[in-house]
């Protein structure tokens, strides 16, 4: 696989060979985390800017560690709210940053399409760290890496994604990435949280949790945001967790080797009962460590690419 892209904007753009290339690179880089001196000189002299318009400690920290372990200079630029709140437009902020000659800009924004807009206007590479409900490619890549690690392969597996699919960029990126790797994907949730014509994404749609997870090799639980009670999506957290929350009792009818995954942070007691989050089924912490490895791989590949 040879990586030729200037940007990583979404899983929809990647083909299976590129996905495998990133996973293999990430796997090779994972060993650095086990060293005493967690440093390689690979991106020495390169500047990575984290442009996070949505507050996110974990993803930002993950990118920061990834950059620093590769010896890059990492700058964090937190901007809260939309352009309107800040007064400075997104493009103006980006142009200002570009004037400082970064090699890669990692951006998270609440508006779908914001990273694509930046990628059109910036000469340096752009990594989408999450845009609105659109895509979060490094999350999907680390999810795939974790599944491959635990199951030994990807093709032919059954993955069920449970929760608020409509508002989830993680769900979309996972769906695109998993389907390209030959995984059968089922999404499950109340009809109000399943987006229009969802089955056209190539997934099975279920409105019954037990039926959706019965044969799953992997169950991906999504975080439910409290705002969903406004807007009439769900009546209450209590009902949501009773019907859609994962408990040990519900897991008894699943495969004994099922993996439980979650992009974090977990709403304990809502989508996952605490005992499940802490059980042997859960690979949530592996997802976090693989996240650093995947982000190292992505920064490595993008920082060297001259772009298409």
């Amino acid at each position: 696989m040879s990586w030729k892209r200037k940007d990583l904007l979404g899983m929809q753009d990647l083909d299976a060979a590129e996905i495998i290339g990133v996973l293999d690179t990430a796997t090779s880089m994972k060993e650095i985390a086990a060293r005493e001196i967690k440093k390689v000189p690979t991106l020495r002299g390169k500047t990575v800017v984290n442009l996070f318009y949505e507050s996110s400690t974990r993803t930002r920290t993950s990118f920061e560690i990834a950059g620093k372990w590769l010896s890059a200079d990492v700058i964090n630029f937190s901007a809260s709210g939309s352009s309107a709140d800040k007064g400075e437009s997104l493009l103006d902020t980006a142009r200002n940053i570009e004037a400082m000659s970064p090699d890669v800009v990692v951006v998270r924004h609440k508006a779908s399409g914001a990273p694509a807009l930046l990628a059109r206007h910036l000469r340096c590479g752009v990594v989408n760290a999450g845009d609105g409900a659109h895509e979060h490619p490094t999350q999907a890549l680390l999810d795939l890496m974790t599944i491959r690690e635990k199951k030994g392969h990807l093709e032919g597996l059954n993955v069920t994604i449970v929760g608020d699919i409509t508002h989830s960029r993680v769900a979309r990126s996972d769906i695109y990435g998993m389907r390209k790797m030959g995984i059968t994907v089922t999404v499950a949730g109340p009809p109000t949280l399943i987006p229009a014509q969802c089955q056209e994404l190539g997934v099975k749609v279920s409105h019954r949790l037990e039926e959706a997870i019965a044969h799953a090799d992997v169950i991906m639980m999504l975080r439910l945001q409290h705002e969903r009670m406004q807007g009439g999506f769900i009546p209450s957290l209590r009902e949501y967790s009773r019907v859609w929350g994962l408990t040990l009792a519900k897991l008894e009818h699943c495969r004994p080797d099922v993996l439980i995954m979650h992009p974090g942070p977990v709403n304990r007691g809502v989508e996952l009962a605490p005992e499940v989050a802490d059980s042997a089924y859960s690979v949530i912490l592996d997802q976090v460590s693989n996240g650093v490895a995947v982000r190292m791989a992505v920064l490595y590949l993008l920082a060297g690419s001259k772009g298409a």
């Binding site: 929809q12 352009s83 779908s112 399409g113």
Partner: protein, 424 residues
């Protein structure tokens, strides 16, 4: 002052003409139409051989933005854009600043148009005060001042009781009430059409139902009150069906459609380019097909651009935050000639009718026909002229169009208002 337009193919649906004829204009009015006309010596001549001579086109849905938003457009720039686009008259919406909900603003617009405008300007007055949807505006005074219709366009009047009263109150003035049909609650989150594309893009969408629900309601209110209801920028198959059924029942409802709702679907929004963002949004394939069919069979009475200019900075940036609206005066006629008339989807006389006699009759305006005695508002088309859409060359201050870079053949060649050339 005599002007002879020689040898063009005169297409006048109102008069039932489609033949090569000469048009003799005297003192700003059409004097005679026939073959081999000989006006007195000294008459100016325009050789229209190979061109199509039509009644001046009328765009009944334009946002001229003056007063208050002159940075987006002015009556001067907007009417120049209209003339360049082949239009001899525009009806301008009331969402200015201040809102055109009283005769002072109507008078201002008409006065400015007299000085600065190069085509005829017909103001549309607001239905409710300040477009707030709470209290009636002074419709009688607005009618007296010269408004040709009433509309809160840009916003939907959510209160059915108030809208009913407005339709009733407006009856004696004989002016249509124009609905921007969009249920705010159903639509409010949506930056684009709700469908597979919005699911893939992760953008909140507004379902076609948001428009259909209000079209249905407004038709029922029109039936109740006997008012002439006109549906602005119709865009869904459901709304088209409702209008068709209502017309069959004898309800006084008419509808207009924009060129972009005839030519583009929500697929173009994949670029996240906000030049594809407007209200109502670009819809799905079946909606476009229904609108085309309805335009051909007359369920939709006319084409209107909903020309809505904005400053570049208002359209730049995140899709969800960008302002709604694109410009259309300078691209409507070329695009429809190339994409609908040329391939035979819409025949030329019907096309001309939808842009001339259609809006004229609907709004009870002079114009829309080339009868002797009528003002010489004339649009001459060149069906062979090739073009490329280049926003940098627009006369409008607005630059946002999803058609940038499109090419085709067929464009306005000359526009005359009252016998005076305003564009060529």
């Amino acid at each position: 002052m005599n002007l002879l337009i020689k040898g063009g193919r005169v297409v006048d649906p109102a008069g039932g003409t489609d033949a090569v004829q000469d048009v003799w204009i005297a003192d700003g009015r059409i004097h005679k139409i026939g073959r081999g006309l000989k006006p007195p010596a000294g008459a100016e001549a325009v050789d229209a051989t190979g061109k199509v001579v039509c009644p001046g086109f009328i765009d009944m849905h334009v946002h001229l933005r003056e007063p208050g938003f002159e940075y987006k457009e002015t009556i001067a720039s907007g009417t120049r854009a209209a003339a360049a686009g082949g239009f001899t008259a525009v009806a301008c919406m009331a969402n200015t600043f201040p809102v055109n909900d009283n005769r002072a603003v109507t008078d201002y617009i008409l006065a400015r148009a007299k000085v600065e405008g190069v085509v005829r300007v017909y103001p549309i007055g607001a239905v409710t005060r300040n477009l707030e949807g709470k209290q009636l505006a002074e419709l009688a005074e607005q009618a007296e001042a010269g408004c040709v219709a009433f509309s809160d366009d840009g916003k939907c009047i959510m209160n059915a009781e108030l809208y009913r009263r407005a339709m009733e109150y407006a009856l004696p003035f004989g002016l249509p009430v124009i609905s921007h049909a969009e249920d705010c609650e159903l639509a409010h989150r949506g930056a684009m059409h709700e469908g597979f594309v919005s699911t893939e893009l992760g953008l909140d969408g507004q379902p076609a139902a948001a428009e259909d629900v209000m079209v249905a309601r407004d038709i029922i209110l029109a039936e109740l009150t006997g008012a002439h209801l006109h549906i602005a920028h119709i865009s869904t198959a459901g709304a088209v069906r409702l209008v068709r059924d209502a017309k069959a029942r004898g309800v006084r409802v008419t509808a207009e459609v924009t060129p972009h709702h005839l030519l583009l679907t929500d697929e173009v929004v994949r670029s996240y380019d906000s030049s594809c963002k407007m209200a109502p949004p670009l819809r799905g394939k079946r909606d476009v097909e229904a609108c085309l069919e309805a335009l051909v069979d007359g369920t939709i009475d006319c084409v209107a651009t909903d020309h809505a200019p904005h400053a570049v900075s208002e359209k730049e940036g995140e899709f969800a935050e960008a302002a709604n609206g694109i410009v259309g005066l300078e691209t409507a006629v070329p695009l429809l000639l190339d994409r609908l008339v040329r391939p035979g989807v819409l025949d030329l006389p019907t096309f001309v009718a939808r842009l001339s006699v259609g809006p004229a009759r609907l709004l009870n305006l002079p114009g829309g026909s080339l009868a002797p005695g009528a003002a010489a508002d004339i649009t001459i088309l060149d069906l062979e002229r090739t073009w490329t859409v280049d926003p940098a060359t627009f006369r409008s201050r607005g630059r946002s169009t999803p058609f940038a870079g499109f090419t085709g053949a067929g464009a306005p060649w000359m526009t005359l208002v009252g016998g005076v050339k305003v564009a060529s």
